[in-house]
C-alpha cells in the first residue's frame, strides 16, 4: 500500500453509462480496493470498493456518520454549510443518540405497517395509470407515474399536503444537483426546511393522526420532544420518500423493457417481482456516495490502516458489482438472489423506508406491465435524460407508448 501526497483521482466520478459503474470503480476494486482520492473541496478520503469491506465500514461504530463534523468527507462542494446543528438529521447521528432517534420512528415502517398500506398504494398506482392511459401518447412515465406515486404515498403517510408537491419537488431537484451553485442549493434547502418548520408548528397545535403528528404526541409524552429534530425528520422522510423511489420506478421500467425475456418471466409469474426489485436496486445503486463516514478510531480494513480523522466513502455501487459477492455482477439477472446488496446501505443507518420502497416498486411494476403489456420506449436509450448531475441517479424523463 502506497499513499501519494495528492491522489490523482477526484471523487465523486460521474456515471457515463446508465447501466455500468464508472470504469474507475472496477479499476480501483481490482488494483487497490481501498485507496485515497481527492474530494471536490480539496481534501482527501479513502474509497472502499469491495462488498465485504463496505459492509465492515458501515457496520462498525469506529466510523461516524456525523456530517456536521469539520473532517467529514464532503462529496459535494459546500454541502457542509447546509446543516444546522440543532436540527441534526437521523442520518448524521451516531449511537446512542441515533439508536434512540431511529427507534422512535422505525415502528412506523415495520413490514406489517407497510403491508397495511398496500391497498392504498395500489389505488394510487391504478389512478396514476388511469390518468396516463387517458392522456396522449407517448407519455412521460416520470411525470405520469414515477413522481406522483411515491410523492402521494409519503405525503399521506407524513401528513404533508400533496397540493404542495410541485414546490418541494422543484426545490429537491435543485438541492441534489451537484453542479449548481452552492448558494442556490442552500436556498433550495432553506425553502423546504422553512416549509417543514411551518408544517410542524401547525401540527404541534393539535397533533393529527399522521406519522409526524403521532411522533409529536409520542415524544412529548416521553418528554424528549424537540421542534428542530422533528423539522429535520420530516424533511428527511419527505426527501428520501419521493426522490429515491421515483428514480427506481423509471430505471426499473427501463431495464425491464430492455430485458424482454425477464419481463415475460415476471408477467407469467415464473419469476418474482420482489426478486426483480432487489436486482434493480443492486444493478443501479442510485444512492452511491451518500454512505460516507468519518473514522473516529484507528482501524485496519482489508490490510489498510485507516486513521481517526480520515474520511471514507463506502461505495455501494462498486460493492454491488463486486464479483466476490455477485457472480457475473454486470449482468442484470432477476433470478440471481441479490438480497445481500448494499443499495439501501448497511449497518445502523440502513434505509428506514426500504420496505415502503420495495412495496411501492413491486406494486408499480406488477400493475404497469399487467395493464399495459405492449408498453415500450418511445425514444432511443442514448437520447434519454439521465441524471448525470445529481447525487441521486435517475431519469428526468422517460417517454413511453403502448
Amino acid at each position: 500500500m502506497t499513499t501519494v501526497d495528492q491522489p490523482a483521482l477526484e471523487f465523486p466520478v460521474a456515471r457515463t453509462c446508465p447501466f455500468e459503474p464508472p470504469a474507475e470503480y472496477r479499476q480501483i476494486r481490482e488494483e487497490e480496493p481501498i485507496t485515497k482520492v481527492r474530494l471536490p473541496e480539496g481534501g482527501q478520503a479513502w474509497v472502499v470498493t469491495k462488498h465485504e469491506h463496505v459492509r465492515q465500514v458501515l457496520g462498525d461504530p469506529r466510523f461516524s456518520a456525523d456530517r456536521q463534523h469539520p473532517d467529514f468527507p464532503a462529496t459535494v462542494a459546500g454541502r457542509r454549510m447546509i446543516a444546522k446543528d440543532d436540527e441534526r438529521p437521523l442520518i448524521s447521528l451516531d449511537a446512542p443518540e441515533h439508536t434512540q432517534a431511529r427507534r422512535a420512528v422505525v415502528g412506523e415502517f415495520t413490514v406489517r405497517r407497510i403491508e397495511a398500506l398496500r391497498p392504498r398504494i395500489q389505488q394510487i398506482v391504478d389512478e396514476s395509470i388511469d390518468r396516463m392511459i387517458a392522456g396522449p401518447r407517448p407519455a412521460d412515465l416520470v411525470q405520469a407515474l414515477s413522481l406522483p406515486v411515491p410523492s402521494l404515498v409519503i405525503c399521506e403517510m407524513l401528513g404533508v399536503p400533496y397540493a404542495d408537491h410541485e414546490f418541494f419537488q422543484a426545490h429537491t431537484t435543485k438541492m441534489i444537483n451537484r453542479l449548481i451553485d452552492p448558494a442556490a442549493r442552500r436556498a433550495a434547502f432553506e425553502s423546504i426546511r422553512d416549509y417543514m418548520d411551518d408544517l410542524i408548528t401547525r401540527k404541534e397545535a393539535d397533533p393529527p393522526d399522521d406519522l409526524l403528528g403521532r411522533q409529536i404526541a409520542k415524544l412529548r409524552a416521553e418528554g424528549s420532544y424537540r421542534h428542530g429534530a422533528m423539522v429535520s425528520l420530516g424533511f428527511l422522510l419527505l426527501l428520501a420518500g419521493h426522490e429515491t423511489t421515483a428514480n427506481m420506478i423509471s430505471l426499473g421500467t427501463l431495464v425491464l423493457l430492455r430485458n424482454p425475456e425477464q419481463l415475460a418471466a415476471l408477467r407469467s409469474g415464473a419469476s418474482s417481482t420482489l426478486d426483480a426489485v432487489e436486482e434493480m436496486l443492486r444493478y443501479f445503486t442510485i444512492v452511491d456516495t451518500a454512505t460516507a463516514r468519518l473514522c473516529v478510531e484507528d482501524i485496519e480494513i482489508g490490510g489498510v490502516r485507516i486513521r481517526a480523522g480520515e474520511g471514507v466513502l463506502a461505495l455501494g455501487y462498486a460493492a454491488n458489482r463486486d464479483p466476490d459477492a455477485f457472480d457475473d455482477p454486470d449482468a442484470f439477472d432477476i433470478e440471481r438472489g441479490a438480497r445481500h446488496h448494499v443499495a439501501f446501505g448497511f449497518g445502523p443507518h440502513q434505509c428506514l423506508g426500504q420496505n415502503l420502497a420495495r412495496t411501492e416498486l413491486q406494486i408499480v411494476f406488477d400493475t404497469l406491465f399487467g395493464r399495459l403489456p405492449t408498453l415500450e420506449l418511445a425514444a432511443d436509450v442514448d437520447d434519454l435524460p439521465f441524471k448525470d448531475d445529481a447525487s441521486i441517479y435517475g431519469l428526468y424523463g422517460l417517454p413511453v407508448t403502448w
Binding site: 457496520g59 439508536t99 431511529r102 427507534r103 422512535a104 422505525v106 415502528g107 415502517f109 415495520t110 413490514v111 406489517r112 438480497r339 445481500h340 439501501f344 446501505g345 448497511f346 449497518g347 445502523p348 443507518h349 440502513q350 434505509c351 428506514l352 426500504q354 420496505n355 420495495r358
Partner: protein
C-alpha cells in the same frame, strides 16, 4: 441450532421479517426483532441463515 437475536443491536430494518415471517416479527413500538421460533429446522433453518447474513446490524446469530 439456536437462533438468537440481540435486540440491543437491532435497528428495525425488517429484513429478517421479509426473509421469513414464520421466524421473525417486529415490535409495534420500536420495530426491533421478535424471534417467533428459535429452533428452526429444514427449509426454515436455511431462511434463518439468509436472515443472519443479510441483517444490517448483525443482530442475529445461529448457535450450534
Amino acid at each position: 441450532m439456536k437462533l438468537i437475536a440481540d435486540t440491543g443491536k437491532c435497528v428495525g430494518a425488517g429484513q429478517c421479517v421479509l426473509t421469513e415471517p414464520k421466524l421473525f416479527d417486529q415490535s409495534e413500538d420500536d420495530g426491533t426483532v421478535i424471534v417467533l421460533d428459535d429452533s428452526p429446522q429444514g427449509a426454515l433453518l436455511e431462511q434463518a441463515r439468509t436472515a443472519v447474513l443479510i441483517c444490517p446490524s448483525q443482530a442475529l446469530s445461529l448457535l450450534e
